[in-house]
Symmetry: C2
Subunit: 145 residues, 2 copies
DNA sequence: ACAATAAATGAGAATAAGTCTCATTTATTA
DNA sequence: TAATAAATGAGACTTATTCTCATTTATTGT
């Protein structure tokens, strides 16, 4: 585990430091996206706040981290490992949980055709897209561990 | 124009006040989404900052305003009028412009089927979705006024 | 392995978006 | 038109994020 966080850093020519390893390990602890607050709790002050933000910035720069904002305006962060598939997000408005979801190939194919149309229409070059779904988990949040 | 902002308020049982009319008019000035900063500039201190945020909150509550976050983490706001169609957003990473885009009925239909699958799989009730596309406008930002 | 150099870190100050408070003003209604 | 409730303005406050700079750590060439 510690092995692979070192690998991520060296593969991207980023120097291997303790804070970077600790942050990567905290990120790897949960598969789904997590808030900065979650991270800070996991890190238990082993990494200074300023360093945490700097390390997250470094990881974004080498494209192993994806940062976005949940509907309640909280910054959320998730590790993108090479074997991760393209996926989207499902947000629970009750408990705040964010779940990774994959959509069908058929859907992604149609979406990429739509995107081509939009590129032509607006003279854009589109390099990424995102589908977000909002709702509530019924069933007393059984999904939300 | 001032007429319709009054109508929006009275239709929703919200008292008609000057700040509310001014904010609505500033929102109506541009069709595409705009930042809080844009709004403040348009309002030229005619509405206090605290009032601006309060009015935006009021408008969200009566569902005539949609608030979201652009990829550079800026809060963005757009008026939802009754004759507006369901639409999505295209973000330019160069100039920051956000453009409303409609996708085909065929696409929306397939997406709603995908959503039904996700609802079953995760035992969720999904009530909204959003497709965001990211890129850059080629052609020296000709779209970006 | 070691010294020199560059890069990263910690601590806390600074910034900025958004919220809150409360005295005053404005809209609504009877 | 007066009474009442609601909305506003001004600025203090909060909180997330960024910045600064002195100190520590990693890297590299010998």
């Amino acid at each position: 585990m510690s092995e692979s966080s070192r690998k991520i850093l060296s593969d991207n020519n980023v120097s291997i430091t303790n804070p970077r390893i600790l942050v990567l390990e905290a990120l790897m602890e949960s598969r789904n996206p997590q808030t900065i607050d979650d991270l800070q709790k996991k890190l238990e002050n082993k990494v200074a706040k300023s360093t945490l933000y700097r390390v997250l910035g470094d990881l974004k720069k080498i494209n192993v981290l994806h940062e976005f904002t949940s509907p309640d305006n909280t910054t959320v962060v998730e590790l993108l490992l090479h074997d991760d598939e393209h996926h989207h997000h499902l947000f629970c408005g009750d408990c705040g949980e964010i779940i990774d979801v994959g959509l069908s190939n058929e859907f992604e194919k149609l979406l990429s055709e739509e995107i081509k149309k939009i590129e032509r229409k607006f003279n854009f070059q589109i390099n990424d897209h995102r589908v977000e779904m909002f709702g509530t988990c019924t069933d007393q949040c059984s999904n939300c561990k």
